[in-house]
């Protein structure tokens, strides 16, 4: 095995790992405030990157990205307000089915707007052949962008939950909705905020990885499954564990092409998902007490 190639694969694995982690954190944010697993989580990533690509045709890259993240956040808010806000104690089954329906509709709309073409944002710095080298290993600068932006997001999220008023209110909601409501927190707005946040994070991540992973209307479902795998791997609700889980999955997937056809790559994530669900549903990093009944 060529050591240079090995590190290339690791870099690729890290890129994918971060996007899985961000999707997983998106799951966590919404799950914590509502108890919903949003099956449409992957669509936020798709929407963010596709919108940015379109806007980038006539706007400078940074503006296009910021605008597309804002648009996706708006979509997140609209979805919550239209489809969830007014439901009175819906069953889990009902919510699963609604988010699945949403995922389909968003994908079909994307298909209608953008067609089946595979697209990509340009590299943020340099181009596909430029590289920075560390100890003789060449890595695309975009990988550094991915690592930097995603780490910043995770960090910012931690600070947000710890120190900002909204963040604290959201955590209160997650701990005990009824109590939070009695303390005068508008829990409904917190739920909307959680959709906005996870849409925004998904869209941002979608933009930074787009130059490497490319974007297509149907990228959401695999991302959702892998994000969920990672969320479960890390134990639902824990952001740092999600990053660890994401990196594990991304690197495993990327190294797997050595031993099996790449057509089966998706099967790795799903096998991990099934194994974890069967044998350790609280996740690798979760404690037993953290596991909530669905």
């Amino acid at each position: 095995m060529n050591i240079e190639l090995f590190f290339q694969y690791i870099a690729g694995g890290i890129t994918y790992g971060f996007i899985y982690a961000i999707v997983a954190i998106g799951f966590n944010i919404i799950y914590n405030t509502t108890g919903i697993i949003n099956f449409a989580q992957g669509e936020f990533v798709m929407l963010g990157s596709m919108t940015a690509i379109t806007l980038n045709a006539f706007l400078p890259l940074p503006v296009a990205i910021v605008l597309s993240v804002l648009i996706t956040m708006l979509v997140g808010a609209v979805i919550e307000i239209l489809f969830f806000r007014w439901l009175e104690s819906p069953t889990v089954l009902r919510m699963i089915i609604i988010t699945i329906g949403l995922s389909i509709i968003i994908r079909e709309i994307a298909l209608a707007i953008w067609g089946v073409n595979v697209r990509a944002l340009p590299y943020f710095t340099g181009n596909e052949v430029s590289s920075v080298s560390f100890w003789g290993v060449h890595i695309s600068p975009q990988v550094l962008w991915v690592i930097g932006v995603c780490s910043m997001m995770v960090l910012a999220l931690q600070l947000f939950f710890k120190y900002s008023r909204f963040g604290r209110q959201m955590r209160a909601c997650a701990d005990n909705r009824e109590a939070a409501r009695l303390c005068g927190i508008n829990t409904k707005n917190m739920v909307t905020l959680s959709f906005v946040l996870s849409a925004g994070m998904g869209a941002t991540a979608g933009c930074v990885v787009s130059p490497i992973t490319y974007s297509q209307y149907n990228m959401g479902v695999p991302l959702a499954i892998k994000g969920f795998t990672v969320a479960i791997l890390g134990g639902l609700g824990n952001s740092l564990a999600a990053v660890a889980g994401g990196l594990i999955l991304g690197i495993l997937e990327s190294l797997s092409v050595w031993i099996m056809p790449s057509a089966y790559k998706d099967a790795i994530a799903i096998s991990i998902l099934l194994l974890i669900l069967f044998f350790r549903p609280r996740g690798l990093f979760g404690r037993k007490e953290d596991l909530r009944e669905f």
Binding site: L93, I96, I98, G101, I104, F294
Partner: protein, 351 residues
Amino acid sequence: MKGERIKIGLLCLLLVLIDLITTSVARTYYLTQLTMSLYYTLVVLGLVLLMGYAGQISLGHAGFFAIGGYTTAVLSTYNLLKYKDSAVVKVSSELGLLTLRENLYGEQILSFHPWIGVLLSLVIAATVAYLIGIPVLKLKGHYLAMATLGFGIIVYRIVLGTPIFGEADGVSDVPPFVILPGLSISGQMDERRANYYIASLLVVVVVYLMTNLINSRVGRALRAIHGAEDAAESAGVDTAEYKLKVFVMSAVIAALAGAFLTHFNGGIGPSEASVMKSVRYVAIVAAGGMASIWGGLTMAMLLNFLSLRGYFGQYDDAVFGAVLILIMLFAPEGLLRVNPAGLLKNIFKRS
């Protein structure tokens, strides 16, 4: 019980009537799509039992359909001539399990008899469902949904990535399934009406068996599991066993539909195993009102027929997505149980 008998009688009458009408106005080509709809209806009925009555969601039922279809497709098309000297082939041939035929291009093909293909497809589906079911059915809610979805995707990836399953092209040139001399599952024009009646019979039989089941000791236990699993356990119901049995049963029904439809269509492609197909079955069950055999039946026939006739055009998937959302938002009890006045009042109250 008597009411159910009458309904089944009416269903038979309706199915015959449809045949008579389409034949008399020379629109028998409708029968082709009706037959296909009937097979998809079988899958939905199995899922009504699993999801509606026992309360266990499956987002992987297209996987079982595909297991049924692909098993019989491969067995009845894979040419064994080059292995004709091997012991296994010889023994199979002695036992009369093989048939020799000529395909479209005049090539000689020695393959398993479709009877073997269909029976094996049921056995394999049952085995897979059993093995998967043991760990999966311990899960609930989102976990169960994701695990079954994961199973469905694995089946999809396997048929899409494996040469013997024809990868993206699927398996074609699947021969007719001769059930008895003179009676076969095939898409040939002159067998259209016979095939419509075969599929109708299957649906009627499954409806009959299911209505009996629902109104029995087992049916009560299944509904109890749906309503309050812990209380069902305390009343002595082995919930794990019941869930497993009903899961296997609905998987076998799906595989049966897949196997028959594959012979009817003369082939099967990977789209039959796709997540979207599984979601579609769930959508139809939801539209029918979950725990409703007749609702599921009606919606399955209606939506599949419209879809197969191409009424939804390029928005086919979008239609099913929209059905899912709208039903779950406004009519979680199913379309047939909507009370329009109450619904309107509810909507206005909300806004």
